[in-house]
């Protein structure tokens, strides 16, 4: 899985690509840990547009990061979920735990509003 990022004001956007699973989760976790250590408050958007699959370890990684960001007065929000990935969030009802946006710009807008 590839990780790219860019900034939108005070917000950092993490772009993932490929399968987000038990094998790639540690890499994503390391990236998120670094962001949470260095940015105050950590406002993160994870753009999942190019993610084709997520497993439970990947979900746990996102949940953990979301909790930490909120503890640090920031947040982790999701955007651009493809249908199969969105379905997983709906089935596990993680859509009730995360703020999920159709487009990255909407997520950015919600942070700055």
């Amino acid at each position: 899985m590839e990780i790219k990022s860019h900034e939108a004001g005070d917000i950092i956007v993490m772009e993932l690509e490929g399968r987000f699973d038990a094998y790639s989760a540690p890499k994503a976790n390391e990236w998120l840990e670094e962001v949470m250590t260095n940015r105050k408050p950590p406002n993160v958007i994870v753009n999942l547009e190019n993610v084709v699959f997520v497993d439970s370890t990947a979900l746990a990684t996102l949940v953990q990061a979301m909790k930490r960001c909120r503890q640090l007065d920031g947040d982790l929000r999701l955007s651009n979920l493809k249908q199969p990935v969105r379905m997983i969030f709906e089935l596990t009802r993680l859509d009730r735990a995360f703020e999920i946006f159709n487009l990255e710009e909407e997520a950015v807008g919600a942070f700055t509003a």
Binding site: A22, L59, A60, R96
Partner: protein, 515 residues
């Protein structure tokens, strides 16, 4: 002139003379018969031997060079004769001595090589003997340093190894002569070049550091240079080529000993882990129900298969006379030992809440569990999806609450199968559970299948998931069978679908049928 001061060439001719003394005497006799007053051999301006004995001043009248490999290394000299025939004879004699000296030279070379080989054999033997009974890495490294010090005859030695966990270990013998930082840089250097490192310092250079000579050889362990042996200050001399050859042999042998020891230690670790994992698996299997309760109005069957040795899935039944029959299926995110530990915790909390709470509806059970486990799950970055069901036979009512769990398939005997989707997030995600009680009437021949995603996300050779559509169809197709029949049918169908592919995730299933 004393022997010690002779040049190597002179020494060689001298050896030839002492080995062939009687022949030289016969040669001198022959020359005397031909009129010569004396015969003598010279090298580097010094007289090595003369006949007759006691001749002191020789005024050479004729001489011929003694040559080895095209170089003049000495002279054969006669006194008292001087004609072309005698000169020819003298040149022939000198040529003969040259040949003898060359053969002596070759013999010396062969002897040295033989001694070298013998030394190397002794080194390997010494190292094998000394390291045979050392099963700790520290001991082995010290022994290797000790043997190297003795065999190469130097003041001190060190052995450094880069361990698989990234740390390094250095042992010195008999004392520390170089600091660890310098030793580490020696390893980096020899690892870069795959060659030995040799430093012989001049007096002014070494007077400050006390280091005259340093010879470091790389040690290959599992096809990589991850260790090095270093020798410090050869006694009374500099490190030379034979020392390098000897250290190479020591390094090769020490490398294989270290490799064996590391493999041995790893295999011990492995078997310790294996024993622990076996024990964990036995404990975990004991946590899963082995006998299914007999519940009035229900036929039920269940099973669980972890993907690794221990798993994060669980299912449990609580069947007590004073409470409705309650069952649950849980799936802790992740696999292996951490998931298994949380699985055991969740199961215990779930059972306790179900049996202790006065009116434990599924929603209450999930909410209590979430409050109890939220901090622990947060601590280890995990969560657990849980489905709790409860059957009240008098009203044939099935209550349930679903914390992020899927798939749960309800197949009414007279209708199409549907998914019971979750309304709450998994346990450990949010501080309060959002799952609420739901209920359906569970009639005769209705079927409920609660699985973990290890089944629905099983994939085939084309990376295609088994998926919910197939699941609903297969449940419908099997719904006329008994609970065990439906369980076996689903299990077989999904196993055939993912034929040949290893099981990626734990697989757990409860099947309940109204009777």
């Amino acid at each position: 002139m004393s022997k010690a001061k002779l040049s190597p060439e002179a020494r060689m001719i001298s050896t030839v003379i002492s080995g062939q003394r009687s022949q030289f005497r016969s040669l001198a006799d022959a020359w005397q018969t031909a009129g010569a007053t004396s015969l003598s051999v010279w090298a580097n301006g010094a007289r090595l031997a003369a006949w007759p004995k006691g001749v002191i001043d020789i005024t050479p009248s004729m001489s011929a060079p003694i040559r080895i490999n095209g170089e003049d290394v000495g002279e054969l000299v006669v006194d008292g004769v001087g004609n072309p025939a005698a000169e020819k004879a003298l040149i022939a004699n000198a040529g003969f001595i040259s040949r003898l000296a060359r053969m002596e030279n070759e013999l010396n070379g062969m002897t040295e090589r033989l001694i070298d080989t013998q030394d190397q054999l002794l080194a390997v033997y010494g190292l094998t003997e000394a390291t045979r009974n050392h099963l700790e890495l520290d001991d082995l490294l010290t022994q290797v340093a000790k043997i190297a010090t003795e065999l190469v005859s130097c003041e001190a030695a060190f052995v450094l190894i880069q361990q698989p966990d990234g740390t390094s270990k250095v042992e010195h013998y008999p004392e520390v002569k170089l600091d660890d930082e310098l030793i580490q840089s020696c390893l980096t250097k020899v690892a870069d070049t795959s060659e030995y490192l040799l430093l012989n310092l001049t007096e002014t250079e070494y007077s400050r550091a006390g280091l005259r000579g340093l010879l470091v050889h790389p040690v290959v362990i599992r096809d990589q240079i991850t260790a090095a042996i270093g020798l410090i200050n050869k006694k009374d001399a500099e490190f030379e080529f034979p020392d390098i050859k000897l250290l190479k042999v020591i390094a090769e042998h020490a490398g294989s000993r270290m490799e064996h020891l590391i493999l041995f230690q790893e295999s011990i670790e492995q078997s310790k882990l294996q024993v622990e994992a076996d024990l964990a698996k036995r404990v975990q299997l004991r946590l899963l129900p082995t006998k299914f309760p007999e519940v009035e109005g229900l036929d039920l069957w269940a099973g669980s298969e972890p993907a690794s040795q221990v798993g994060g899935d669980y299912y449990a039944f609580v069947d007590r006379p004073d409470r409705p029959f309650t069952f649950c299926v849980g799936d802790v995110s992740g696999k292996g030992m951490p998931a298994a530990l949380l699985m055991a915790m969740s199961r215990t909390v779930m059972r306790t809440k179900t049996t202790v709470d006065p009116t434990p509806t599924p929603e209450v059970i999930l909410d209590d569990c979430n409050s109890e486990l939220y901090d622990d799950f947060t601590e280890v970055s995990m969560f657990a999806t849980v489905f709790v069901g409860q059957y009240h036979h008098e009203e044939r009512r099935l209550m349930y609450a679903n914390a992020g769990h899927s798939p749960v398939v309800f197949c009414p005997y007279d209708g199409e199968p549907v998914l019971f989707e979750a309304d709450g997030t998994a346990i450990g995600v949010l501080p309060t559970s959002l799952a609420e009680d739901q209920e359906v009437i569970f009639r005769k021949d209705d079927v409920l299948v609660v699985m973990t995603d290890g089944f629905s996300e099983a994939s085939n050779h084309d990376d295609e998931l088994f998926g919910y559509d197939r699941l609903l169809k297969v449940v419908k197709m099997l719904s006329k069978k008994s609970a065990k029949g439906i369980f076996d049918g689903l299990y077989e169908t999904i196993k055939n679908f993912s034929a040949g592919r290893p099981q990626d995730d734990d697989q757990t299933m409860i099947v309940i049928k109204g009777v």
